[in-house]
Symmetry: C2
Subunit: 434 residues, 2 copies
């Protein structure tokens, strides 16, 4: 492991010159912060536009045979103002001309979208007096937008010297030399790639929040920030429904064990959240609670189900033919219960009739829809009474438990409640967890 720290900054950290100065002061605080990964300039206020959205508008206009100037002029003005204020990238005007020309003459949507990060990178390299590394040359993506392993040695080679490096996030190029953006996860993935490539001691992910929260703050009042969380726990929280760190952005560092530190550009003193390979569960068994508001609950009963070994598979095939893919299932001795994301079921009666006609069940019905909540923590299976405390919390809130899945994952307790009790249930579980 090298002593380098890779720092990724999100769109709000790139939104204007003042934010970029904050970034510089953060980088200057620790000499090991030598690799900086940047997003495109984001919103400066709630009603502002993101540079990336403007770039997509430019591409759309060009595709429609219209002038892109109405959109590109906004970009130009904003970028040049930042450069002027920070006295960086003296040739920015001509670089912008080149980009405008390319988009006007039919460059791809991926090329257009990637220019926001590209411009951020040029500016931050100037601010930090760092070497600019173009992802088009060192980040290799597959045709479906995933990272090719050839990337790591190329990135490492480009950053092997002393001093600082700035690399734009969100894009790379395919083997045939075309600019390509990531299909999911954006610049967070670029940061993880760089961290793995340079064998960083830490991957700092600077955002506009002071770490990962225990629960959705739109539902739970001021949920505590998670101090330490494992890769697995992040993945589990995200899978259940939380908008936390994207799994694709963890995968590159997970296999090599680089810790991720989620920090706040606007509150650099806050320690944020450490995402680690493992953690001490004695301090805290559970890290967070997340959920999804609504699943359809398909219940099928057939007496002596064990005598029909193909029943489950036939049922799943029949559902799949109708575009229905259950996310969870639970088996009784004579029954099966499936939780299906709400959007998948268009016509209840058609589904029920098809099951009746093909599988001759004793009963088949959509039970009232459920919300599914997950209590997540590496310590959840270790301590007697953990399960009880959560069910007790729901009981006190007078919320019926309709579904439990526990033991399939070793780090989460999944609880189904009536869909209309979702918010109350989330609050009750968080209260029990803190």
């Amino acid at each position: 492991m090298q002593n380098m720290i890779v720092c990724k900054f999100g769109g709000t950290s790139m939104a204007d010159a003042a934010q970029m100065r904050k970034v510089k002061s953060i980088i200057d605080l620790d000499r090991d912060r030598r690799v900086v990964v940047v997003s495109a300039p984001g919103k400066r206020s709630k009603d502002d536009e993101k540079i990336t959205d403007l770039l997509y508008s430019c591409h759309k206009a060009a595709s429609d045979g219209k002038a892109i100037a109405p959109y590109f002029s906004v970009i130009r003005e904003r970028i040049l103002a930042i450069c002027k204020e920070l006295s960086v990238v003296s040739d920015m005007a001509s670089r912008l001309d080149e980009i405008e020309e390319k988009i006007s003459s039919g460059a791809s949507a991926d090329y257009a979208a990637s220019r926001g990060e590209y411009l951020s990178g040029l500016m931050m390299a100037g601010v930090l007096d760092a070497t600019f590394v173009d992802p088009e040359e060192v980040v290799r993506l597959t045709a479906d937008g995933r990272v090719d392993d050839a990337t790591y040695p190329m990135v490492a080679e480009a950053m092997k010297g002393p001093g600082r490096y700035v690399i734009p996030g969100f894009f790379g190029s395919t083997s045939d030399g075309k600019v390509k953006t990531f299909s999911r996860g954006g610049s967070d993935i670029s940061g993880a790639i760089a961290a793995r490539a340079v064998d960083a001691k830490r991957y700092e992910n600077w955002t506009d929040v002071s770490g990962i929260l225990m629960a959705d703050p739109r539902i739970v009042d001021t949920p505590p920030t998670i101090t330490e969380i494992t890769y697995r726990e992040v993945r589990e929280l995200a899978s259940i429904g939380a908008s936390v760190f994207h799994e694709e952005a963890i995968a590159p560092v997970r296999s090599v064990g680089v810790p991720i530190n989620v920090r706040n550009t606007n509150d650099p003193q806050a320690p944020g959240t450490m995402i680690l390979p493992s953690r001490d569960t004695a301090k805290r068994a559970v890290v967070g609670v997340s959920g999804k508001k609504s699943y359809r609950n398909l219940y099928v009963e057939k007496l002596m189900l064990d005598r029909y070994p193909g029943f489950r598979q036939e049922l799943l095939t029949l559902l799949q033919e109708r575009g229905i893919v259950p996310e969870f299932e639970s088996k009784g001795f004579d029954s099966l219960s499936f939780l299906i994301p709400e959007a998948y079921v268009e016509n209840d009666n058609a589904v029920l009739e098809a099951i009746r006609a093909n599988l001759d069940p004793d009963e088949v019905a959509f039970r009232p829809s459920l919300a599914l909540l997950g209590v997540v923590g590496e310590g959840i299976l270790e301590k007697a009474g953990i399960a009880a405390s959560y069910f007790l919390a729901l009981q006190k809130a007078n919320i019926n438990v309709r579904f439990i899945n526990y033991g399939g994952s070793e780090i989460s307790l999944l609880i189904g409640v009536d869909a209309d009790r979702y918010r109350e249930a989330l609050r009750a579980l968080v209260e029990a967890a803190v």
Copy 2:
């Protein structure tokens, strides 16, 4: 529905003349008790022999070319003593001669085994002054020992007159006229067949216990008797592991809704247990708790499991090829957990190696074995807090919960705990249920 009551009496109720007199007094108490189904004479004391076992010994001796007299003489003596004491079946000696002759000359094991019920039937018909109905003529079985639907009208026809009928349980005949015993469930099935055939208002199943108990009395001190239980609940308790009423003996009456009343020949005043199509769950949400002591717990983890849609099926196939059939499974986002009956897994390492070699999991291991306990009741999904009370009971007993399956069946909560805590867990759950 007719007003008839079908009464089935078990082996201990047929064990000697005194027991048979008790049966008569029970039948005499209610004029609607017009159909009596009997088992073979059972043990009179703990060290006694069952007539059926003696008959199997006769058949075995005959097959081995040995004399059957050493066994048959015991049967003869016991049966003739009963007939003499009760002054019934004046030609019993010659009937026994005929049976001995047939078994000696190579009659089938099914024929031999069925003669215990046959003899009970002859005697009880005498005691009750009832018409004897031979199942060989009216109960039609398939080659694999299940009830053929042709049975019902034949039994109904044989019992359409006034007065009482006695029919031996446990056997019938195949379409080619051979005596055939039931593969599972014995005389209880015969009783259910008769009850359905005559459209009985009740099927009384007379045993040597005063009904179905809430839990295994070998583990829980004096568990309460269940007053009312549904067909589904009986099936669920039995599936989880309780030795309660056999499902095969419920199936015939379940579809027509005849209530089953489990009673005690030695305590005829006790109301016993009513098995019903439905019951009032407001009175009691949960009826019983049962369990199985030991399951192997196979845990498999693979990151981004959803990207490998064939993973689960390949794993199950691989297990099946090694004779391993999981009874329960639970799915996490990146993991699968299987509960496998202990006896199925012969060589841990061979199984783990095969999974590693074929499926490249991130982790695969047998976690410590689990006991699985089921809290069963039609009301279990209805009431907030039901789940909590059981987990709280386990918490108080300091027992860790390792696995929960809830919602797959609408009438049971399945809980996995460390195998060595099985008895304590059962006691804790029963205490919470009463």
